[in-house]
């Protein structure tokens, strides 16, 4: 997918991010909270923002890249408007989480970890979300769908304004 980080459009967000850097700058181990802040504000880690972080925290960009790629919560491509998290923890897996994931992938035409071209949906397969007694579980944005059945998936996609096959 193609995308570009627009500095002008994101001016207000960049200011907010700079504030986060200021709050953590003098603390030990500031890099993680700062990257987490960037991920939250921008939805991913734009290269321009990592450059800025490097300058402000005085940490080499290569080191930041090393840290950012280590943790799965950091993304280098933008997230879609709606983020579908399919839990693949053991309890969900035993109860058919994999099939649920495959159905979402089939319906939206993208693999887990990607975003649809219209930027409407992203699919993630997540680690155990701790709702094991409700397995299989899918979380769309902040909405939790417990004990999900394959047949309900089309309905969910439609609910968030998507198209189904």
């Amino acid at each position: 997918m193609k995308f570009k980080f627009d500095k002008q459009k994101n001016e207000e967000k960049i200011e907010r991010f700079k504030q986060i850097i200021q709050n953590h700058k003098d603390k030990k181990g500031a890099l993680m909270p700062v990257l987490q802040g960037a991920q939250e504000i921008f939805g991913y880690l734009p290269a321009e923002i990592l450059q800025l972080t490097s300058e402000e925290l005085d940490v080499p960009l290569s080191e930041i890249y090393g840290v950012a790629t280590f943790y799965s919560q950091f993304a280098f491509i933008p997230k879609g408007e709606n983020v579908i998290n399919v839990c693949l923890g053991t309890a969900c897996y035993v109860k058919g989480g994999q099939e649920i994931l495959e159905e979402f992938e089939k319906q939206l035409g993208i693999k887990a970890g990607y975003t649809t071209d219209d930027m409407k949906f992203s699919i993630n397969s997540t680690r155990c979300v701790g709702d094991c007694s409700m397995a299989p579980v899918v979380i769309v944005n902040d909405d939790v769908y417990p004990k999900l059945k394959k047949e309900q998936i089309k309905e969910i996609i439609l609910k968030y304004g998507g198209e189904v096959k």
Binding site: M32, F70, Y71, Q73, T90, A91, C128, C132
Partner: protein, 526 residues
């Protein structure tokens, strides 16, 4: 800021209000001093770490105080030396609930004896084992128990800076902790000059970012330091050289929730519960194909049968129990024949599994053990940090073999190769993740060898899970309606109207379309 006397006053004033509210909601039974949740599911449990969950309002510190909260801390700060607290901890023999079972008191003592200008006390709330959610429940529903446990620990080892490392997947727990820390500070139960005794202890939250290996102690510390979460070599132990090279204690959430209760009710009381070598209780996340899933806290030494059948109500939908998986990706699969095994650290490791953080996944006849081993390996390969070779490359090779087994291309000798590889990885990996990653493989080979044989020799999956090994066949129930012929994307079904159809096995892609559309359920998977 409040004093010890004011704390007692709040307790006495707020307790009747709490009891009244709970009785009105009709969800508890109050007997003497004890408040316990109502219902059969709770009746057979013994709740220590979870004692306040579902009872107190996590957003109101007075509820926690009413349940004897911060009483232990007050007692200790007022009249006990750090050495005495450590002695009590050692005598209680509370063992780490995060999985390894290391005695908490001994850990504290090591850090206490280490002279240093700065010491750290960390709560490991990076509950990463899939299928375990007891820590999440405690953090969300009873955050003050963790804060109090940490403060007591900080006092004992001589630390004034605590960290809670919470995984990013638990946003509600983070919110709950933030609020609890704020309230505790407001009441003078955390921060400077706690309860006017001159003891300072602060707690800071640090968030994980989705790396399972950060549950390992040294990796967690690297992560707090702002680096890639890769484990360090040991020794030195972290209680000597830990976070920022200072002596550091790392305790699990459930362990810390036990601390205030032990200090309140005494060592003898605690030792009267559970077994000789593993006193107290353990919380299990009973999930999978079980009738009543949820958190179960029982005395150590309770058998798997009691947990799964008496509390969990047995296997879902009347199916047959095949195995119980304990300890997550580091644990093993226990076959149904060993269901009378008592659950404690020693007994579980004897049969090739581990206690782990307490995940307990029930599996029925429809679960394929080879596929489960592959599932866990896939997890480990994904989460391996890559620092040491056995884990980085060895697990990858194991996963390749297991994948070949599940798609029917493995050879018979590969079962032995898998076993050999597993043993080498176990012996030579750097950290706990690699050392335990072969457990799911070894335990399934040990107890379910016939399933491995079925996959590699007969090329069938007895549980009907592994897609490539499935065979779709049309039985005599077929009425020849031709629905499946139209649906089949591979055009491999032939047959005349009103006659039994046939699937060409060579062309079949095992998509299951025919199975889904058949109005007579005439298609069998085998």
């Amino acid at each position: 800021m409040i004093t010890v006397e004011m704390l007692e006053k709040i307790r006495q004033e707020h307790r009747p209000m709490l009891e009244e509210r709970l009785l009105k909601e009709d969800k508890v039974v109050i007997k003497d001093d004890e408040i316990v949740l109502k219902g059969d599911y709770y009746k057979k449990q013994y709740r220590i770490a979870l004692k306040n969950c579902g009872i107190v309002d996590p957003g109101d510190i007075r509820d926690y105080i009413a349940m004897d909260g911060y009483r232990a801390l007050a007692k200790i700060l007022r009249g006990k030396q750090p050495e005495d607290v450590i002695e009590d901890m050692k005598a209680s023999n509370l063992r780490g609930r995060g999985g390894a079972g290391f005695p908490t008191g001994r850990k504290w003592e090591q850090s206490f004896k280490q002279a240093s200008d700065k010491k750290y006390f960390i709560c490991n709330a990076d509950e990463g084992d899939p299928g375990a959610f007891m820590d999440r429940s405690i953090l969300e529903n009873d955050p003050h128990a963790v804060l109090e446990g940490m403060t007591i620990g900080g006092y004992a080892v001589g630390s004034n800076q605590g960290f809670i490392y919470v995984r990013a997947e638990y946003p509600t727990a983070v919110k709950s902790l933030k609020k609890a820390i704020e309230q505790a500070k407001e009441y003078g139960l955390l921060g400077e000059n706690i309860l006017g005794t001159g003891f300072n202890f602060d707690i800071e939250l640090r968030l994980g970012s989705g790396a399972f290996v950060c549950g390992e102690g040294t990796a967690l510390m690297e992560s707090i330091e702002g680096k890639r979460g890769m484990p360090r070599k040991k020794p030195p132990r972290t209680s000597h050289v830990g976070l920022w090279q200072k002596p550091t204690i790392l305790n699990n959430v459930e362990t810390l929730a036990n601390v205030p209760v032990i200090m309140n009710k005494g060592v003898d009381w605690f030792r009267s519960i559970g077994t000789e070598k593993s006193p107290g209780t353990k919380v299990f996340a009973l999930v999978g194909k079980v009738a009543n899933s949820g958190l179960v806290e029982v005395p150590m030494g309770t058998t798997l049968r009691e947990i799964i059948y008496d509390i969990g109500g047995g296997v879902q939908d009347g199916k047959v129990l095949k195995a119980v998986q304990t300890g997550g990706p580091s644990g093993g699969c226990i076959p149904a024949s060993l269901i009378d095994t008592p659950v404690d650290f020693e007994s579980l490791s004897k049969i090739g599994s581990i206690m782990g953080s307490g995940g307990m996944v029930v599996m029925d006849e429809n679960t394929c053990m080879v596929d489960i081993a592959r599932f866990f390996l896939e997890f480990t390969v994904d989460e391996s940090c890559g620092k040491c070779t056995p884990c980085r490359i060895g697990n990858k090779r194991m996963l390749e073999i297991l994948t070949k087994m599940t798609n029917g291309t493995a050879e018979e000798r590969e079962i032995e190769e898998l076993k050999e590889l597993a043993e080498i990885i176990e012996d030579t990996s750097l950290c706990g993740l690699g050392q335990t990653s072969p457990n799911p493989v070894l335990s399934t080979i040990r107890y379910f060898y016939n399933e491995y044989e079925a996959h590699v020799v007969d090329k069938i999956c007895p549980s009907g899970v592994c897609k490539s090994l499935l065979r779709y066949n049309i039985t005599d129930n077929c009425i020849g309606c031709r629905r499946c012929v139209k649906e089949c994307p591979a055009h491999c079904i032939t047959g005349k109207v009103k006659e039994v159809h046939v699937i060409d096995q060579d062309k079949c892609i095992k998509c299951g379309s025919c199975y889904d559309v058949c109005p007579k359920n005439a298609i069998k998977i085998g």
